[in-house]
């Protein structure tokens, strides 16, 4: 099914992406092709169960889960090593366009 402009705009918001009107139009047309391609699964011959969980791996007993034992956290300098931190915080300054 084709993607309406409203639908596309909603997806863009959910994805936190912005497109210029031309870009959006171009994208939307390409998306139509891709969605048509995805739609082919609805022609799939095979039936199936309703259980969609656990497609690749088996379930584990809760006993195999991680034990509640403290592991040392990393130093603040490491945590902030990819940003200009401030007083130990991540931060986003307001800046005017």
């Amino acid at each position: 099914m084709a993607l309406s402009k409203e639908d596309f705009d909603k997806l863009a918001v959910l994805s936190r992406l912005r497109f210029s009107p031309e870009e959006a139009e171009e994208f939307r047309n390409e998306m139509d092709d891709i969605i048509a391609f995805a739609d082919t699964i609805n022609n799939a011959v095979s039936g199936g169960t309703d259980d969609i969980k656990n497609t690749s791996v088996n379930a584990v007993a809760y006993t195999a889960l991680r034990e509640d034992a403290v592991r040392e956290s990393l130093p603040n300098e490491k945590i902030l090593s990819n940003v200009d931190g401030s007083r130990g915080f991540f931060n986003v300054k307001r800046c005017v366009k």
Binding site: L11, L17, I34, T55, V57, V83
Partner: protein, 486 residues
């Protein structure tokens, strides 16, 4: 085929060369060759030299493993502490993880020497590596052709002898297909065989790290070094392979039951079909049993793959918001605007495509028709492959419908590019292992790859089948004349 790792390891252990000397050779080779093929996007030569020094100490102490002191490359989506790891995306510009991926941590402790990070499609989304923000790597076999993708840089580096081996990641064929385009060996292990901790996620239920090497034996040696259950990856599995896979290579394939499904050959370039069928005949001649199987379900695999991969990707890539790492837009009004600007400027076109598609298939009203349906079909495909492996030990198939296309060829249609993955994605959907081995060249001299698939944790079987072919076939692909030759 050149068992590069075995040869280098012997030389290092016998003291014929030190790791530091070998590393300098590789560094020179990278400096000379890389500008022609763009295989590396970040180099870590100082780190490599340090690693080589440590490796020499380990070698001297006599407790060195098979990979000790040998220079290699990591794909640019595998984290190593303090080194640029950018997924070849502007949005991860300058990102240096502060922890090691499990695979790198294992290799490092064995004395591996990392030369740098290899080029790839942005966030591993692509089949040609052309979506890299650093420009595409070029196929060393013919630089007007692509390397394949997404682990194109790693395949090119191994092919051009500027890495003794590399680690790639395979979400829909990203190890096997570039390996086949570049005429090297690529192993996609069973889902869960190798820890994903520190692999920057694309499609979490499909991603798997594996080696790209010059030979099957090399692939087995690297696989032995990186596999194993990991407390940091819930989906990793504690599987007992009964010893190193490298030791399981006997080359004996008598009685091996090989499945061949004609659906795998639909729309495949005749040259490739012939090359793979010739290989099948070689197996048969040497005592394997060929079983024709049907896989009509195969055509469902492509949309299933794209729906699941994009759904997971749309969620996995939500975290790139400019707050904690990587690129942040320069101009914005407030924090919300900053996130929009950062993402809109930081992600490339193909990535945006897949994020939007993934968001779409998960959004309310469409979830059942796309994501849920894809998961149901995925289970059916898994069951069908299980059935096949009840009667067959391995499946043999081509790796791609064509050999490496020219650069820019796929620009026309996204769907066309998606369809080029038809041969490789079923392995990721089902979680089974697959290996790509060179199997001749086409008229243009470009390598053809053959794919051997096995049941879950059947790596030893497919490695051995590949090993047989490598030993028995007549010169499947010629050696690249450049880089570090041994």
């Amino acid at each position: 085929m050149r068992e590069v790792l075995t040869v280098l390891s012997d030389m290092l252990r016998k003291g014929e060369i030190t790791s530091q000397e070998l590393t300098e050779k590789y560094i020179s080779a990278v400096e000379e060759v890389n500008p022609q093929i763009n295989a590396y996007v970040h180099t870590t030569f100082d780190f490599a030299r340090e690693g080589a020094k440590k490796a020499d100490e380990m070698l001297k102490a006599g407790n060195a493993g098979a990979l000790c002191g040998i220079p290699m490359a990591l794909k640019d989506n595998i984290c190593s502490d303090g080194h640029l790891t950018t997924c070849c995306s502007k949005i991860l510009r300058g990102f240096r993880p502060y922890y090691d991926s499990t695979v790198w941590s294992k290799l490092k402790s064995e004395g591996a020497v990392m030369l740098g990070k290899a080029n790839m499609d942005e966030f591993a989304m692509g089949s040609t590596s052309e979506s890299s923000c650093y420009g595409a790597p070029l196929n060393p076999r013919n630089t007007s052709h692509v390397t394949g993708g997404s682990s194109g840089g790693g395949a090119a580096a191994v092919c051009a002898n500027i890495a003794a081996y590399s680690l790639g990641s395979d979400t829909g064929g990203s190890i096997r297909q570039p390996a086949s385009y570049c005429g090297v060996v690529g192993l996609k292990p069973t889902y869960g065989a190798v820890s994903r901790y520190g692999l920057i996620a694309y499609g979490s239920s499909l991603d798997q790290i594996g080696p790209i090497t010059n030979s099957v034996k090399d692939a087995a040696l690297v696989f032995d070094a990186i596999r194993g259950v990991d407390e940091n990856d819930d989906t990793s599995v504690d599987y007992n392979y009964g010893g190193p896979s490298a030791n399981a290579l006997t080359g004996d394939i008598k009685g091996l039951k090989i499945g061949v499904a004609e659906e795998y050959f639909d729309g495949i370039n005749p040259e490739i079909k012939d090359a793979v069928m010739d290989a099948v005949k070689l197996y048969e001649k040497n005592g394997a049993e060929i079983i024709n199987v049907r896989l009509p379900i195969l055509k469902e695999a492509m949309p299933v793959y794209y729906i699941i991969a994009c759904a997971e990707a749309s969620s996995n890539l939500g975290r790139y918001d400019g707050i904690r790492y990587g690129y942040r837009a320069d101009n914005y009004e407030d924090i919300d605007d900053m996130i929009y600007c950062t993402r809109s400027e930081g992600f490339g076109r193909e990535v945006k495509h897949r994020i939007i598609l993934g968001t779409y298939v998960l959004s309310s009203g469409y979830y059942d028709a796309y994501y849920k349906k894809a998961c149901i079909l995925r289970n059916n495909i898994i069951k069908r492959f299980d059935d096949i492996f009840n009667t067959c030990d391995v499946l043999i198939a081509p790796n791609a419908p064509t050999t490496a296309p020219k650069l820019g060829h796929h620009g026309a249609s996204a769907v066309e590019m998606y369809l080029s993955d038809i041969c490789t994605v079923p392995v990721n959907i089902t979680g089974i292992p697959g290996i790509s081995v060179p199997c001749g060249t086409d008229k243009a001299g470009l390598p053809i790859g053959m794919q051997i698939l096995g049941k879950r944790f059947g790596e030893n079987t497919i490695l051995n089948a590949a090993y047989f072919y490598e030993k028995t076939a007549v010169s499947p692909v010629k050696e690249y004349e450049g880089g570090v030759r041994i």
